[in-house]
Symmetry: C2
Subunit: 397 residues, 2 copies
């Protein structure tokens, strides 16, 4: 049984804040500051270039990949870290297209995170060849899978509504049509149990700064199923994905397996912060996380619906069809969220009218959820959002 | 006049080491540890998601780009940070090819760093269309430029020999043939004065962990000349390069100018370490750096040639044709370098037989160079390299 008091103590949480935005940027693991400082002072500072070997920097992308593999139901040796989620989407998509050279359609949905769609658009623009990105409604994805589709590329949990795709069913349907699958796990990894191997997913990608708490701009991950790992042709053929990077050959030769999905020199400070963040998962059962996430989410929905009639639930009511977030629609959602933040409850806003709240059992308690609902009630009842201070948009919300 | 005692004090240097490998990984700036710790504790820890605005994270890639622009003779607003050098090569190359759609040749040389060639090979493999990567000898580049060449892609300073290309002459020759240029400044930025605007270079890329001391895997940079910035089509169309990333539109629209070369969520810890490292340049004149680099390099060549007759100079003898490193060939160079490192002088080795030494006036003194030459003499005279301990290869050297 996971001890959530213990996991909460793992994090450095500001005293005056209820944080319902761990689905956007997870909080600071206490041990990460010291881990990064030590890497900088002892390894970079004293070992200098030697630290690539002596501190094991060169192996971090695969080692941390193995730790994440355990959280997403993937075998060891099938996940590697690096770059950003956007880059990993590009790699997975170009590799998938190369495995289905006679097909012209990339199928996705309008609940996918924009950068996934943008990267696909960039790739289509680059390749031409009659390729097409076909974007349908989330509910229409299964029916839209046909033998024209080279690949179906979806984010499992909708970043706006929290709607959860049925990975196993969609992957099975895709495979019956000879279509490959790419699953973006940005809002899944660390949020709920994922079973990539069980679903026979072909590719998966994800970021680590949300439910995995790796820090701002932490390295992303990519999974290639063992079935494809030796056939996936790297489009981003960087030297760290070469079979012998330090032979400095003129000709690229892909490394065996997942290592070929490495590109350039890995960002070590980000890797070390992530490594510290991943330690908490050794004492966590994801089934417990899921159970408590649903409890907290249900409690919040019930409280908000009772206390704030102007807010309309935008997430699926059935917790089995929802990730670890709850969203409400409100016409003045941007200002209301700013007011809420000013009153110590941090969620976030997604255009055009979504107020989004993430539930992260590792550090969020029932009492936090109740207090957040009370404060939100006050914002709404006293119309505290109706204030010029809260209307002005900033770059990132 | 640059005060090199003062710049040396900027760095945390191990007491028992003479570091001649700043061309591979620059040393730790003392202020970087505190800067990163503060970002982690105050911004990430206390501000959480709000730090993207309150700590200015979202603007770091452009702000640091402007600071680097000053060091490479590029106008403000023409450089942006992110990803790795490999990714930036891919972006520059795909944008250049799109600007010359009727041409089929990418021209480069076999002195280019392998990852540049690999990324070009990956792009050629992706695009097909009869594209060809043509690799010639460094000395043959100018003559090989013709109207078949869409782009000439070169690293200004050869990573093995230190041979310096004539950026202005090659760019001029290229432009006469209608060919675009991509300059990799990995061994130039912070090592010698660079004048991208004066040379009318079209694209430039570089890493920041060598002479710019940004730390292991620090973010890379890309420069697009203002002439091309509004026409360069991003192949890696990530959300941070979108005109309105936080509108979460379904369709990609490139941001104005250089911002479109941003891709995913920027790696903030790496950005902050780099920001601390860049502070030293406020008090540095690159002409002074170049003058002292040549003095140190000439002294080392003279000493080594006198003391170590088995070592053959692999770098151009004329300092005007050399970057800020000096290389010697020696059949047992790998073992000799390991022995040298074991005796407190850190250089590095590049296959097949290159012993490489970087000269970095910001923290390297004449006395260091003399001592290094003495120790190298002892390694050679007493054949200390001829020892099984020094023969075994490690992953990174």
């Amino acid at each position: 049984m996971t001890d959530f008091a213990r996991t909460r103590a793992f994090f450095d949480l500001p005293a005056d804040v209820i944080y319902l935005d761990g689905n956007s940027l997870g909080p600071l693991p206490k041990s990460a500051v010291q881990a990064v400082a030590q890497t900088m002072q002892k390894d970079w500072g004293q070992q200098l270039i030697r630290a690539w070997n002596s501190a094991g920097w060169v192996d971090k992308p695969r080692q941390l990949g193995d730790r994440i593999a355990r959280l997403i139901g993937a075998p060891a040796g099938s996940v590697v870290m690096g770059d950003t989620l956007s880059i990993k989407v590009f790699q997975a998509l170009s590799a998938a297209l190369a495995l289905r050279p006679d097909r012209k359609v990339i199928l996705s949905d309008n609940g996918n995170f924009p950068t996934d769609l943008y990267m696909a658009q960039g790739l289509v623009g680059l390749l031409g060849k009659g390729l097409e990105l076909r974007i349908v409604e989330p509910e229409a994805v299964e029916a839209a899978i046909d033998e024209a589709a080279a690949v179906v590329m979806l984010t499992e949990v909708d970043y706006r509504t929290g709607r959860l795709h049925d990975m196993a069913a969609i992957t099975e349907k895709a495979h019956r049509a000879g279509t490959l699958t790419i699953w973006d796990l940005a809002h899944s990894a660390g949020a709920l149990p994922v079973d990539l191997a069980g679903a026979k997913a072909d590719f998966a990608v994800g970021c680590t700064y949300k439910y995995l708490n790796g820090g701002p701009g932490a390295p992303a991950f990519i999974h290639v199923s063992p079935e494809h790992a030796e056939h996936a042709e790297p489009s981003l053929a960087g030297w760290f994905g070469h079979e012998a990077p330090f032979s400095f050959e003129t000709q690229y030769r892909p490394a065996p397996g997942i290592e070929r999905m490495r590109v350039g020199t890995p960002p070590i400070l980000g890797m070390i912060a992530l490594e510290a963040a991943l330690e908490v998962w050794d004492e966590v059962d994801l089934a417990d996380v899921r159970r408590k996430s649903i409890e907290l989410s249900q409690l919040f929905i019930e409280q908000v619906e009772r206390r704030c009639p102007a807010l309309a639930l935008a997430s699926p009511r059935d917790p089995a069809r929802r990730g670890s977030q709850v969203s409400f629609r409100f016409e003045h959602g941007y200002a209301a969220m700013q007011a809420l933040i000013a009153h110590g409850v941090i969620g976030d806003f997604r255009a055009p009218d979504i107020m989004r709240f993430g539930f992260t059992p590792l550090y969020l308690r029932e009492s936090d959820v109740l207090e957040a609902a009370h404060i939100l009630e006050r914002i709404m009842r006293e119309r505290l959002w109706d204030d010029a201070r809260y209307m002005a948009r900033s770059a990132v919300t």
